[in-house]
């Protein structure tokens, strides 16, 4: 069970977010201030942090936690004006949700973050007819029982899709994430790699369902 550290000073909000996350199957530790947060950081998988806290503010707490445990994702919750918080908060936070948030939106962001940071996950990700073992570089077609062999770049591309599920990813984002270089306009490398990936993953590569093309924008993998 994933363990979430939730730091929120408002009791009404804290109560229902805690209950909602518990209902969704997470173990939640709720603190009303950030003083003792560092005692918990080694034991948790994700931190949800409110910006406005009594005593130490959320930014300071977040920065300290990030220094102590850089591989634990931090999601900031803010009720202040989005713009300034965004500039200040996103330097260490991994995601950002503005109040009044919708519980489902928060849950979705938590799930995405957990998946993005879960490198040691042995559970396969179920992607239509495929089982993807992210940590083992392995993809199995459940229908045929065959293992699909991917090249390094194809695997990294698929991994990136799965770490950002349900998001429309542009060519630039994909290229820069997988190749680690600035995207030069007009490059069709991404198109070629997506085609190869589809040939290996899709039931019918001419009508892809695993990797959707969003016309004019990019590609998406839905979970």
């Amino acid at each position: 069970m994933k363990h979430i550290l939730y730091i929120e000073d408002d009791h009404e909000i804290g109560e229902w977010v805690k209950n909602d996350l518990r209902d969704r199957g997470y173990e939640v530790t709720w603190l009303t201030d950030g003083q003792d947060a560092h005692h918990y950081i080694q034991r948790v998988d994700l931190v949800i942090l409110d910006v406005m806290l009594p005593g130490l503010d959320g930014f300071t707490v977040g920065q300290r936690l990030k220094e102590k445990a850089p591989d634990v994702p931090i999601l900031m919750l803010s009720a202040r004006t989005a713009i300034e918080d965004k500039v200040e908060g996103l330097t260490f936070a991994d995601d950002y949700v503005t109040k009044p948030f919708h519980p489902e939106e928060l849950a979705a962001r938590v799930e995405v973050l957990l998946r993005r940071f879960a490198s040691t996950d042995v559970q396969p990700v179920r992607l239509q007819h495929l089982d993807v073992y992210l940590s083992q570089n392995r993809v199995v077609n459940r229908e045929t029982g065959e293992e699909v062999t991917l090249t390094g770049k194809e695997h990294r591309l698929l991994t990136y899709f799965l770490r950002h599920p349900n998001q429309v990813l542009t060519k630039e984002q994909l290229y820069e994430a997988v190749w680690g270089e600035m995207f030069a306009g007009g490059d069709n490398t991404i198109m070629v790699h997506i085609r190869h990936l589809r040939e290996k993953l899709e039931r019918d590569p001419s009508r892809p369902t695993v990797i959707e093309t969003i016309r004019g924008l990019g590609y998406r993998v839905r979970l």
């Binding site: 009404e12 909602d20 009720a79 004006t81 990813l169 542009t170 016309r215 004019g216 924008l217």
Partner: protein, 449 residues
């Protein structure tokens, strides 16, 4: 300021000091000069051997004594005179104009003197070198005349020209002294003015006003005092401005927090209600509540942003960015929501980058507001188109919907502040913002001309 410390009075003082020093300088010079010469014991300087008066008197006396004497006696006297004045030239012309005697014998003199020659000679001798004295023998001028010519160097003290040279040096020195004193005076003034100027320049560059130290009590000191007062006041007002800005931001942050927290609670409560068994109408009500909460959240954000923006306190960090790429990722982030609402998203952006000088957060804010409007007011059209248009007038990014347009009753509500922010931000970034609306939809253009 006391009159005595005025720069004008001070400069008058400099001039007075100079005038006082000048005679003193002369005295010192003369004393020094004489001491120098007497100290050196007449080696370089000698007083004149003869004086002009002495020669003239002696010569006229001689003439009187010669009157009536025989030729022999006259010559004897003249020889005596030659002995007395060995450097001189002596000659005697008799009543007939005959040259009767000349010493030294080799002197180049005419043997015969006509009256006109005499007049010419006398004319030429006036103020000339040698010094010439002509004395008539006898009362009736009939006995001829005797002449003595003495080179002037024996009638002047040697070194006189040297003393004239020294005099000019003295004048030059005193002028230099005056210039030097004035220079000292004005250079100090100049340095203080330059110092003030430097401090002002520094303030312009760093925005920090520094006071200058004041030592004197003159006009410049007054200026420095005024400058310091101004610097302190400017520094204070700048400080106050900063504080006000901080307070304003804090106020807005707190206001935002105070408004949003209960909204969040509301949303949480509504969400919990939704889990209960509710009638169709109950679910519908909850959906409306949820919608309005979202709308209020957006409105709060827009109101507070607008307040900061119109006060010029909204952080602005422009940089050169590929706006096509920015816009594509913004549309991508809106895509799931638009898709959920059943919109057709028609994106027509080129692969080539288009660079504009924008603040990425502002740019995103503009499009977020536009998409919010589309979602709120153009749901019926089920279409949103994003494209880049190039014309000879410039490049435009276009957002089009097929909603009922801005003139329809539903659009009148609530678009104001969001669009005001769009227009303020566009203007600030040097972009042209324009909207066309009709019954078959609204088209928004963000252009760089």
């Amino acid at each position: 300021m006391k009159l005595g410390s005025s720069l004008l009075v001070k400069y008058m003082g400099v001039i007075a000091l100079y005038l006082l020093l000048l005679p003193l300088l002369f005295v010192v010079f003369l004393l020094g000069y004489n001491v120098y010469h007497y100290g050196n014991g007449f080696v370089n300087w000698q007083p004149s051997k003869y004086t002009l008066n002495e020669i003239e008197d002696t010569w006229h006396e001689t003439a009187q004594r010669l009157t009536g004497l025989s030729e022999k006696q006259k010559i004897k006297h003249l020889l005596d005179m030659k002995q007395k004045y060995p450097e001189s030239t002596l000659f005697w012309v008799d009543e007939h104009g005959e040259l009767r005697f000349k010493r030294p014998t080799e002197a180049d003199l005419p043997q015969k003197w006509t009256p006109s020659m005499i007049v010419k000679f006398m004319k030429e001798s006036v103020w000339a070198d040698p010094f010439t004295v002509v004395a008539l023998l006898g009362e009736q001028e009939s006995d001829g005349f005797i002449v003595i010519q003495m080179p002037r160097k024996y009638t002047e003290s040697s070194g006189a020209s040297e003393s004239i040279f020294s005099f000019w040096v003295l004048i030059g020195a005193s002028i230099c002294l005056f210039i030097f004193l004035s220079w000292l005076f004005f250079n100090r003034i100049r340095r203080r003015l330059l110092n003030l100027q430097n401090v002002m320049q520094e303030a312009q560059n760093t925005g920090q006003f520094r006071t200058v130290s004041v030592h004197n009590h003159d006009e410049i000191a007054d200026l420095e005092h005024s400058f310091n007062r101004m610097a302190v006041r400017l520094q204070e007002s700048r400080e106050r401005e900063r504080q006000e800005e901080r307070l304003r931001r804090e106020l807005i942050a707190n206001l935002s927090h105070d408004l949003r927290t209960p909204l969040t609670v509301l949303r949480g409560q509504a969400y919990q209600l939704k889990q209960e068994a509710l009638s169709e109408e109950g679910q519908q009500s909850l959906k409306i509540i949820d919608d309005k909460i979202r709308y209020l959240g957006e409105l709060i954000e827009n109101l507070l942003s607008f307040s900061l923006l119109s006060a010029g306190k909204y952080p602005f960090r422009p940089e050169k960015k590929d706006v096509v790429r920015l816009l594509r990722s913004i549309v991508a982030s809106w895509y799931p929501i638009l898709e959920k609402e059943g919109f057709e998203v028609d994106v027509n952006l080129p692969d080539e980058p288009v660079y504009w000088e924008v603040d990425p957060l502002w740019f995103q804010r503009i499009w977020d507001n536009l998409f919010q409007n589309v979602l709120r007011h153009a749901k019926e059209g089920k279409y949103v188109g994003v494209a880049l248009e190039k014309s000879e007038r410039g490049t435009c990014l276009r957002l089009a919907d097929r909603g009922p347009g801005l003139d329809s009753p539903s659009a009148a509500k609530g678009t104001g502040i969001g669009l005001s922010i769009v227009s303020l931000m566009a203007e600030e970034m040097g972009l042209v913002w324009r909207m066309e609306s009709g019954g078959n939809g609204t088209r928004c253009f963000l252009c760089k001309l």
